[in-house]
């Protein structure tokens, strides 16, 4: 039998791929199918699932509401659409901000003395040694009413004899945005750095030689050649921001509810796994659609491999 296996190339391939296929099946395909099946179910009073086929969870997400204040039998409730919209726009804003902050930094590191580059990259990675949640709590310490930022602003105001009211920064959409930017910045810096670092120095010289000044060289040569890094970074930032619930939970309080929070609460607080599953799938589909159109326009960044 071993002899026959030695000759059969395709059987060898299948065997080698088997562990991966098994893993994918157990950890990805089956849970996803379960989510799909549950999303078409109906909840029981104690949080169980009746397996049936109903689109109720999806219509509810889209705004179909049967418990209206007006007493009508059905009306439009924009709550969940608002949450989806808010998540989408927050993910968009975070990505734009992160690109704006990460690009100059990545550029600076890529053009720095090669001996120093590793030190700079190391500094970029240091925050990642601390737990994600703890880093978010650290921002809470900075942003809250008696936090570091207010204390500093207060003492400056005191020195200048300006009346000072501590700023309400925590539990605002702005706080969530700042937290998201902070959390995901390294995931943009690294791929952009990689693509910038790969650009042959002679290309800058060639551009200068052909009459391009610094700005034109950047716009016509550097930027286009670093786009794969920007694309990879965008994918690495946009997708997790769409689903994260910890940042908005801690820095947004109950004020800023995102899809991630919605899903989490359906499973843990509201005990409605059917609605939670439907929301999860909608989130996934939304992310896939955005990613699909984005990568079709800009290509799939090769740099995604490094991160």
């Amino acid at each position: 039998m071993l002899q026959r296996l030695r000759e059969n190339k395709s059987a060898q391939g299948t065997l080698l791929a088997l562990p991966t296929i098994l893993w994918m099946f157990v950890l990805l395909i089956i849970p996803l199918l379960l989510t799909l099946v549950i999303s078409f179910g109906r909840r029981t009073a104690d949080g169980g699932v009746i397996f049936t086929f109903t689109l109720e969870n999806y219509t509810r997400l889209l705004g179909y509401d049967t418990s209206c204040d007006t007493g009508a039998s059905a009306c439009f409730n924009p709550l969940y659409m608002q949450i989806l919209g808010r998540s989408l726009s927050l993910a968009f804003n975070t990505t734009v901000w992160v690109i704006a902050l990460a690009y100059p930094l990545a550029y600076f590191i890529a053009r720095a003395n090669p001996k120093r580059r590793n030190t700079f990259l190391f500094l970029v990675l240091i925050p990642l040694w601390t737990n994600f949640v703890i880093r978010v709590y650290a921002w809470m310490m900075l942003l809250r009413k008696e936090g570091a930022i207010n204390i500093i602003l207060g003492s400056i105001a005191h020195l200048l004899h300006i009346p000072f009211q501590p700023l309400e920064m925590l539990y605002t959409p702005g706080a969530v945005l700042v937290g998201m930017i902070y959390e995901f910045l390294p995931f943009m810096i690294l791929p952009i750095y990689t693509s910038l670092e790969k650009i042959d120095l002679s290309l800058y010289e060639a551009a200068a030689d052909l009459g391009a000044n610094g700005i034109k060289t950047f716009l016509r040569v550097t930027l286009p050649l670093s786009m794969p890094g920007v694309v990879a970074g965008t994918i690495l930032v946009f997708i997790p921001v769409m689903g994260t619930f910890i940042v908005s939970d801690i820095l947004g309080g109950r004020q800023v509810i995102l899809v991630g929070n919605l899903i989490q609460r359906q499973f843990l607080d509201a005990r409605d796994p059917t609605f939670g599953s439907a929301a999860s799938l909608i989130l996934m589909i939304m992310t896939l659609i955005v990613t699909y159109f984005y990568t079709r326009k800009f290509g799939f960044g090769e740099e995604i491999v490094v991160a």
């Binding site: 042959d200 002679s202 290309l203 010289e205 060639a206 551009a207 200068a208 030689d209 052909l210 009459g211 391009a212 000044n213 034109k216 016509r220 040569v221 286009p224 050649l225």
Partner: protein, 370 residues
Amino acid sequence: MAHEFAVELRDVVKQFVTPEGNLLNAVDHVTMQIKNGEFFSMLGSSGCGKTTSLRMIAGFEWPTGGEVYIEGEAMGHTPPFLRKVNTVFQSYALFQHMTVYQNVAFGLEMEGADKNEIEKRVKRALEMVQLTGMERRRPKQLSGGQQQRVAVARALVKVPDVLLLDEPLGALDLKLRKEMQLELKALQQQLGITFVYVTHDQEEAMTMSDRIAVMSKGKVQQMGTPVEIYERPANRFVADFIGESNFLEGRLKSLSAKEACVVVPQLNAELTGIPVSHGLAVGEEVTVSIRPEKVHIAEKGMSQNTFKGKVTNTVYIGTDTHVFTDVHGKSIKVFEQNRISRLDPGSFYTVGQQVILVMMPENVLILKKD
């Protein structure tokens, strides 16, 4: 009106700090004048300062001392994009995210030329390098030779005063390289643009150049036409670097107005009747050099400059046979052209055979000791 010299380097020095922290003169007080319309080569092995010199003309480096002039104008710290020179890079440095057309058009767009003008000039430039029809390809879809042509077209489309070429053929295989050498030379003659060409390949420099500067250790060792450099090398370095030479150590025994006699202890003999051109003194220690193809293996010796030797090895390389001989313990190389087609092993020299070597006095050069 064009200045007499397209490029002039006056006492140019470029200092670098080595990784050990020492100062190194990569270019050490170099002065050279490159005439308008000339094909000028800087020839030397790596680290001789040729590429650094070229980069200072392009404006990628600024001299530590001295001055670079282009068309008679001192360049100072003028950035590359304000100099009327263009470069063909060793790695080609093509923009991979642009098509061939966009690559060639880039320099014209930077000048702010209008669209029709750009289209016309790009078309002409691509015709010149025989790449018509390749406009929409990306550099990656081209062969090495084609990429090289794009690099040339991209630089030439700007009609520079001077085209700088930094070992542009280094990455091509031998046959293609020879083809491109002739093509580049033809292009230069047709356009009348000054070419400054950097190479480590002496044959390449000889094939293409009007004049060559042989460089070593940051200094110009000799500047001249290919013939001058090969036939009248200024010193031992040049005689050794360009082509091959037999070197013999000797002492000047006597000197007349035109001729000299040198005692060569290595051969236990004297070389007489050697023509002299530069100031030498009787008794001076000198190096005598003779090219291997200028040593003859003769049936019968002459009265002078004739030596008995023994064949130690022969190498057949097609056009020539290299015969290595031993004369009084000193190895002398002789290149014999294979003028007659033959297969019979008996017609070749065999190891151990006794031969008579003749060095005609006019083929012998006296070089001052470095």
